[in-house]
Amino acid sequence: MSDRSQIQKPPRLTEWFIKFLSWSDDKDVILENLREEYEDRVSAQGRFSARLWYRLHALKSVLPFISFELIWRISMFKNYLKIAFRNIKKYKVYSFINILGLAVGMACCILILLWVQDEVSYDRFHENGDNLYRITVDLNGNVWRSSPWALFAALKRDYPEIEMGTWYYETTVNSRYQQHNYNEDIVLVAPEFFKMFTYPIVQGDAETPLSDLNSVVISEKTAAKYFGTADPVGKIIQFENSVDLMVTGVMEDVPANSHMEFDLVARPEVFLPKERILMWRMDCPSYLLLSEGTNYQEVVGKIADSINRYDQQPTKYIVGLQPLRKIHLYALNGTDPIVYIYIFFSIAVLILLIACINFMNLSTARSSHRAKEIGMRKVIGASRGDVIKQFFSESVLLSLMALVFAVVAVHLCLPAFNIFAEKQLTLDLFGNAKIGIGLMLITLLTGLISGSYPSFYLSSFQPVAILRKTIRKGGKSKILRRALIIFQFTVAVGLIISTLIILKQMRFIYSKDLGFDRSNVLTLNLSENLRGKYVSLKEDLLKNAEVENVSAANSLPMRIRNNNTVYWEGKSREQAEMIHFVCVDYDYFETMQMEIVSGRSFSRDFPTDTNNYIINETALRMTGYENPIGKMYAVIKSRDNPENDIGVLVGVVKDFHGTPLHDEIHPTVFMLYDMLPKFRIFIRINSSDIAGTIDHIKETFSAFSPDYIFEYRFLDEQFDQMYRTEHNLQALLKTFTIFAIFVSCLGLFGLASFMAEQRTKEVAIRKVLGAKTVDVMAKLSKEFVVLVLLANILAWPGAFYFMNSWLQGFAYHTKIEWFIFIFAGIMAVLIALLTVSFVAYRAASSSPAKALKHE
């Protein structure tokens, strides 16, 4: 008999270890047994060996514990699954609503996440990605992605950390090979381009494809276009009727998620005059490759004033570096596109939340159906934790089922979505492991979130209360359920308001008077060949009765991006300011129908006009001239020959939007001088037979240059193109708003049906006592309408704040008007009413006799 006064406690730590391992009810008993045997061993073998035995024993028990736990858990889960399926079958309608809601939510989430993932993956495929940077130039607060031609070579020479550099000059050239004749977009780079960036060359010289000046690298699809299946390497393509380039390499088509898009690559020396390439004027983007491990901020510090140093220009250019990875998502000025990613991501999460809330509401509302089952389980011995686990497994199961539907839905919608978003997204389950894992995570998350509240709520039922049928219709739970519906509708209303406002802004943009007439104007790009014959071409075109006016310039009127420096009376050349400029032909303002507010347009009657200037009102304000006509004005065209720059103002044009409506109107100067080639021709037509007119024009062109490729666009089309991002945003938002509303209504429908079901007896009695169907319906609906109204009030401030901030991103924007909010509110209430009254009608019109029969 062991001495009870000397009870030895077994090693504490090990005890706790065992307690932790064995989650079952046996754990106390097991510990009891162990303690008893321990005591016996202490008296038999002494304390030390007893403790040793105890610890060893615990260790040996680990595996059996775990395996038996698993087996037990698995069989419990089998039971949970069986019951879950049974419930689904029993309440088909509600289960369907639940799964549908979850599926829609998950589908939206998946689509958006695919989009986000694509955006974030831009430019990640470059091996040297971490060390590649684009040179930026900051002048007076505006950051440009272009830099001077001569810069990178000078930097490379002076700073050893800069290993390689290249230009990236995009232009369009005419190409010819045998019978093929195209206008091709081409990119002119330094030979190290392919060493810096990872664009694999699959045929031809992979090491130094551009070492020879007269070489060109083409993409696989371009190779197919020109040469079919023949070997392209070594073939010669002629560009601009004079430049023969040999194909030295074929590269893989540039992937969609690259900010640089091109099909042909060549060297600038064969296309551009030498002086241009040695220039210090800003012209095109340049990229640098820094050596491994360099801190790019340090380098930025060193090169910040490099242009000023090298070029000895008085104007202050601040040089910077933009990491490659940031180029796609971060703009240099204004809103970063990454903001859109955050927005869409939040919307995805919100929609998923709404779907989960549906599930929560429905499950808790219908809790009385499961009450008996829960009571029985608890009586038999289930702990609260077990019941919680049961309902979590149910929600995860439903999520899995929803996942199947969601994936199918995504597959179906992806083609349309790709068109909206202008991407090529795929749901490649088997190819990309990350997607599979992502889907599983979403499902798990959905299941856990939606199951959380119901699990805790349902598991709190006490068996005694259930069996005595005294479950309180919990005041707390009712409030929570209402709060959830309010949340759903707040989100929905918020989305409606946002969509409406964005729509309004889009309409504003499209209908705003730009200051010039963009309709009925064709634009084409002139080839080098035609540029030489421009004057006669214009004469011939004007012979056409349907052609009202013809002019040319170096850029589109709504896309004026070139800049230069100017000065005027009272300013010295060194104090020159930045301004936008356009090189135009005679009749430009007439063709564009821009209003000249003082002075005149350029005219052939005045031969000195070739050195004169026209400025817009904003530029005029800069000068402070009161009577500008005849006053001096100068545009710095080159470093030498300053007298050449000085001219006279002959006219002032009314301000027009030369840049997207995000920006303020910039000061702009117009000149006849050919500082940049005027390769864009504008033709204003005025006939009703557009097709016929175009044919006539085409004929005129072919008379001048038979192999000219007549590719025309309408000016208003090109204008619309500028707002693609906003357009897509609006389209996507519209779609997701509809989804959010749909899912919210689904939840409302489910909840309302359930509540109606609950009150069948009440309704029946009211009818018996003489209430009309309409009254009953009104009574049932009132509750929900109040909730929706509340949701509105909550949604308004948030929506206003966000939309206002978005609109501030536009220098010119529409106002947010009150009636938008009212309209959204009314819409929400109507939709809710529609949903609820459908249910209410069904409930109210049911025969009282049937309802009371089961009494």
Binding site: S22, E32, H57, K60, P64, S67, I71
Partner: protein, 108 residues
């Protein structure tokens, strides 16, 4: 009817021998004594639970210990099915081992 596993058989026999006195410690000691097998409590309780599930063993809570708030010891008794299972086991064993004994191995 599936045969009970060797381990289950051992536990059932131990319970049989202990008559009304089979609980954790005693069962374990008994098995060490007769079969020489040192089962851990983890294994043992897992087996016991399985046997309860199959209906061969019944778990009975005995009187609480004399201490204040004492817990009840869990005793295990054979059910009628358990007894039947043992009978089947013996029958099965004799059938399989028919006409063989420890001397039959010399033939090989």
């Amino acid at each position: 009817m599936k045969e009970i596993s060797k381990a289950e058989e051992v536990v059932l026999l131990a319970i049989l021998r202990l008559e009304k006195n089979a609980y954790g410690v005693s069962i374990r000691r008994q098995i060490i004594q007769t079969a020489g097998k040192d089962y851990t409590y983890g294994t043992l309780y897992g087996l016991l639970r399985q046997l309860v599930c199959k209906g061969f063993v019944h778990k009975r809570l005995g009187d609480p210990t004399p201490e204040k708030g004492g817990r009840r010891k869990a005793y295990f008794d054979l059910t009628s099915q358990g007894v039947q299972a043992l009978k089947d086991a013996i029958a099965f064993h004799s059938q399989v081992w028919k006409d063989l004994d420890k001397n039959s191995f010399d033939r090989v």
